[in-house]
Amino acid sequence: METTKNYRINTPTVVQETIDGEAVIIDFITGSYFSLNDVGTYIWNLIEKKVYSSYIIKKVSSKYRGEEDYIASSINLFIEEILKENLIVLSEDCTKIEDKLENENKAEFKKPELKKYSDMQELLLLDPIHEADETGWPNAAATS
């Protein structure tokens, strides 16, 4: 992740809720939905607050215990993954949050995980190409 690039949630296409530390994300365009583990949710919430990318790794490193390089590379890969899924987009409008970096009682760092579910996509498929009757109203395609 280039620390000069900043990101935001791809609203209104993507909606999300974080409940009890777990994020549930829905993409209205593709019909996919996603869940994040706790580390992924933490990063996601930082992006939601439009935190500068350069600050995300610092925040995660202060909250979780682990090797710095491993944390940084994991976060980079995670950001690439959610960017590829169009869950986030580039943003010029970012904020610097003033809250202090947490350094006490760190939990062990686990790789941020994104789980994708595509079983609902068929509900968003357009109907197959259809013909219209003599009054212009469509009929379902013969194969459907």
């Binding site: 809720e17 549930v24 968003l124 357009l126 009054t135 109203w137 459907s144």
Partner: protein, 357 residues
Amino acid sequence: MKPVGPMPLQQARQPDEFFEKLLNIFHKAEKNVKTTPEYYYKIAGYTICLKFAGTALIPHITQALEHLKIQKCNDVNLTIYLWDNKSTKTTIPSPPWSNYDYKERGMINGFNNNKFATTYDINARMLSMLNKEAKLALYWTKDVKQFPYYTRASPLRDILYWWSKTNKLQMLHSASVGVPQGGVLLVGKGGSGKSTTAISCINSNFSYAGDDYCLMTSDPIPMIYSLYNSAKLNFDSIKRFPNALNCVNNKNFAKNNEKAVLFIHKLKSVKISSSFPVKALLLPCVSNKKETSIEKISSATGLQALAPSSIFQLPGATQDDFLNISNLVRKTPSYVLKLGSDFDSIPYKISELIKRI
């Protein structure tokens, strides 16, 4: 890139004009058939009136709503006009949109805005259109014989979804059973066991509130409101409930490779409830044990089971739907219902849970 700015005036007027045209055709249909039955229902405390031109559509529409039927009433919140071309000997004009304007879930480009909501179901060949301001809706088809069997189970779903939003109700893809003190939502994707679980409860002290869709409010406390008394079961499931076979609507379902559509109101001694407080979300899943068990799961898992399958089925669903559902899940504990082979234990376990919460 699409042009931005105000819609051309001609295009902006189209839904209004089209709605007016169709309403006039409905009135012509009424005159042609001279039989214009009216049906009234109480849904979530609101009165809805169905005005039919002729009787052809009645068996397809009213059975699933029978349990909510009331006497004629003046304080109507929504009036739906229903007719078909064939039996009323009417025709309607060609659609004022092109083939390229059909979007996902049957939505019509240019005919869904703050005032109107419109879908055309290509498979069922039926048009649903709601004027939100006037609280009037149109439901038209060319020939009722073209209706797929499943349309009887959840009739007028699109219109009732849009209408419910105007009254701050949220439609859910969920089954629901309960007792007066409270009930549960059975959530999850198709095939997870929602319908089977709901039907297994109907011979116990539970009331049935629905199989596929229901309405919900979450403030001040989560409440569920019944919409349809129907249930759809596949062949393997319905074999487990021989009594239910008597109220199957599509008798040749097995031969036609369909699900059995049942109308629960036809089962004597089964209670159907119009509403109750929601105590829990249950995610059914089949286990390989005899006894049914229940385990707590995270609210995020509950949200994941309920929200996508609800939202992606509802035409025009937005972030508001997701937020409403999230609000419900925040207030309601979620559990997995591990279904055992002993079906008699299912209602007992659910009843125990409701008492505990």
